[in-house]
């Protein structure tokens, strides 16, 4: 548990239950009722939910791996380099934020990583696009907090509890290890409560000052100098600050500080720029260590797919395919396109397809980064039922699942392996059937019933090519000499299509009773061939 004044959370703390829910905050009237504030019991028309991600910088680097190794993040440069963030494994070794990297190395085997503020900003923006599925008003409070206006979403997600459990599950799927929530009528208020790890939900403006007053000054993210000055005059919490005269505070510190307080308490408007998500997705996940087995990539891939899924849900869009790019050791890249038969946004299905696709492939060289790209988000079309009465629910369900089933097979076996067979109206045996890739629209020449095939005996199996048979005493042999049926069927013609046949077909029986379909060429060498098998 955090103590006030420690800044960024040193260790992953297990998520606390919401200690105080809406209305459970003691509604003591604030000491100075601000002019124009709402009456005490009125719930605020807006409710901001702050998601504080104290470990964001570390999480975005380590989330590609299921295996957890001790990692720390360092800030600053040269000799003043200090550890800013540690994960659970590093904390177990006794490493704490504020240590020098050398001290951390002395405590155990640990991976030291440099902080990249640009990557953190980009990650926050992507989280915004993901969080858009919960509310259309999403905003970033740099460096580590997301703000969601959720008043309108509470009913849909089953109250604040329902929404929070969805958020928790979603954030874990993305690989975020540490997060804290707080809700308040003002965005700044919510951010501060979340940073101060006060997992509270304050529903009315009147209750806000009392809840904020006990927060440490660190939640303001002030410059170090200002913070030291304030501590120097004995001010440690926001409440201490508010007890000071306003004029003095403005003179000694920046006027901006006072404005911050006014905004947090709802005395001044606090406009937020609304976030608009992009209609495409591209994210690269760098790996901490090289990976040689494709199975080890699964965790990172699932994280990216969950993020993509959040984007799609947020915008009500679907995809026709996505592309994996693997960045290998020597700067080499391989690209893997996974196409969908029917547009979808089902993350579990995407993950299954990816798994099947990569199950058959081996990595040519170790992978250093994975990248997921998806463009062309399509607005989802509501399926139109063709006939309300004829199709039972069972048939309809299986129809809907057929594309997914097909995609799974295609991802692993390749599209060329899946075929359908078509009967055509032609007297030549090879031409009477055709094998086409599954899903090929069938043209009009497809017969449903050809008189030739009904009248004549046709085998259930055809060999892929006619197989030449040796001849003994004027009869074909397969193992032993075959016994020919008395009837023969003459098949001739086809010169107009370049396939000229002249054959006599027989049903031949071998010594075991198996019936084969054989023919003799009428021209040329007059050879015998095996062409089919009766059952």
């Amino acid at each position: 548990m955090n103590k006030p004044g420690e800044g960024v959370s040193p260790v992953l703390t297990p998520l606390q239950p919401l200690q105080r829910l809406i209305h459970s905050v003691p509604r003591t009237p604030p000491r100075a009722v601000p002019v124009g504030a709402l009456p005490a019991a009125t719930p605020s028309p807006v409710l901001w939910l702050a998601i504080h991600l104290p470990q964001l910088a570390l999480d975005i680097i380590t989330r590609a791996h299921a295996e957890r190794r001790a990692c720390v993040l360092v800030d600053g440069d040269g000799v003043r380099q200090r550890i800013a963030c540690v994960n659970r494994e590093a904390a177990r070794l006794g490493i704490r934020p504020g240590m020098a990297p050398g001290a951390a190395h002395a405590l155990g085997e640990v991976q030291v990583l440099a902080r990249t503020p640009a990557a953190e900003d980009a990650a926050l923006a992507r989280l915004c696009a993901w969080a858009w599925q919960f509310t259309p008003v999403v905003s970033v409070d740099a460096p580590d907090t997301l703000l969601l206006e959720v008043r309108g979403s509470l009913a849909l997600f089953g109250g604040l509890h329902g929404l929070l459990s969805r958020l928790r599950r979603g954030l874990r799927e993305l690989g975020m290890q540490g997060f804290a929530f707080a809700a308040a009528p003002t965005p700044r208020g919510a951010t501060w409560l979340a940073r101060g790890r006060q997992t509270a939900a304050i529903d009315s403006l009147a209750a806000l000052p009392a809840a904020l007053a006990m927060l440490p000054l660190d939640v303001l993210c002030l410059p170090v100098k200002q913070l030291q000055d304030l501590h120097g005059i004995g001010v440690h919490t926001l409440g201490d600050c508010w007890r000071l005269p306003r004029e003095g505070l403005t003179r000694r510190f920046a006027p901006a500080l006072l404005q911050e307080f006014d905004r947090a308490l709802g005395r001044e408007p606090d406009p937020r720029s609304a976030f608009t998500p992009p209609a495409c997705f591209a994210e690269r996940l760098d790996l901490l260590w090289e990976i040689r087995q494709v199975q080890m990539l699964a965790t990172g891939m699932e994280r990216l797919l969950h993020e993509l899924g959040g984007n799609l849900r947020a915008q009500g869009t679907v995809l026709r395919g996505f592309t994996w790019t693997l960045h290998h050791r020597d700067g080499e890249r391989t690209s893997h396109r996974i196409a969908l038969v029917a547009p979808s946004r089902d993350v579990a299905h995407f993950a299954r397809l990816t798994r099947e696709y990569f199950a058959r492939r081996r990595l040519t060289s170790p992978v250093r980064a994975i990248e997921l790209e998806a463009g062309d988000f399509e607005v989802q079309q509501v399926p139109v039922m063709e006939d309300l009465f004829r199709r039972g629910p069972a048939a309809q369900e299986s129809e809907e699942r057929w594309p997914q089933f097909l995609e799974r097979l295609q991802a692993r076996l390749g599209a060329a392996a899946l075929k359908q067979i078509v009967a055509r109206s032609d007297h030549r045996p090879e031409r009477a059937m055709q094998t086409v890739p599954i899903g090929t629209p069938l043209s009009g020449s497809v017969t449903t019933d050809s008189p030739v095939h009904r009248r004549r005996s046709r085998p259930l199996w055809l060999t892929r090519e006619p197989l030449p048979l040796p001849e003994r005493n004027g009869r074909p042999a397969l193992g032993g000499v075959l016994t020919l049926s008395p009837e023969r069927e003459r098949v001739q013609g086809g010169w107009w299509e370049g396939v000229d046949l002249a054959r006599d077909y027989f049903v031949a029986r071998d010594s075991h009773g198996t019936r084969w379909w054989v023919f003799r060429e009428l021209g040329g060498s007059r050879g015998w061939y095996l062409h089919g098998l009766f059952e």
Partner: protein, 228 residues
Amino acid sequence: MRRARLWRAGEAVAEPGLPTGFDALDAMLPGGGWPFPGLIEILSARPGSGGLRLLLPVLARLSHEPRWLIWVAPPYQPYAPALETAGLALRRVMVIDLATETPGMEGAAQPSAAANTDVLWAFEQALRFPGCGAALLWPREIDALCLRRLQLACEAGGTLGVLFRPAECAAQASPAALRLLLTPQPACVALDIAILKCRGSLRARACRVPDPGVGVGPAAAQLHDPST
């Protein structure tokens, strides 16, 4: 031995199966037909012994339901005109064709060793897919654990799984719901069917189904027609 709590195999009431289309066979099978859903093994000494012909009526029926018929790595090309004559809806037939090798001179292909895993995987996926009615497989080699998996997959997807295997496999234990051994009788134009194993009470051990004989033609079509 007459205790009420004692479960006796002979008294077990089998769930109704799918009619096979052959009266002699229906009369013999516990549920009055193919166990459905379930895994069937059809063993025969040689390919082309009539196993597929036994299944044609039920395949035709399933394809008109409509449910998919998925043929995984068949030894030859299923001949579309003959299947159509037998009453199968061809637009519900999918053939999965993988890398194969042809060991014998008869041109029968079997999945290559490398493709064998994929073949089994595809077969299991087909069995687990509820839109599939029946999946047919001509396996290269298959162990008991794998068979158990396939039987469970049939039950999960509500499908009929059919394995065509050589007669030597009769000695191997199998969790399949039904195992048949086929012996064609060249002399009297008939097919002998012996039940090696089934779930539920057995009414007879063996039966003989008339073989349409050499002149497979209109007569055969009638026999295969599910309406008769």
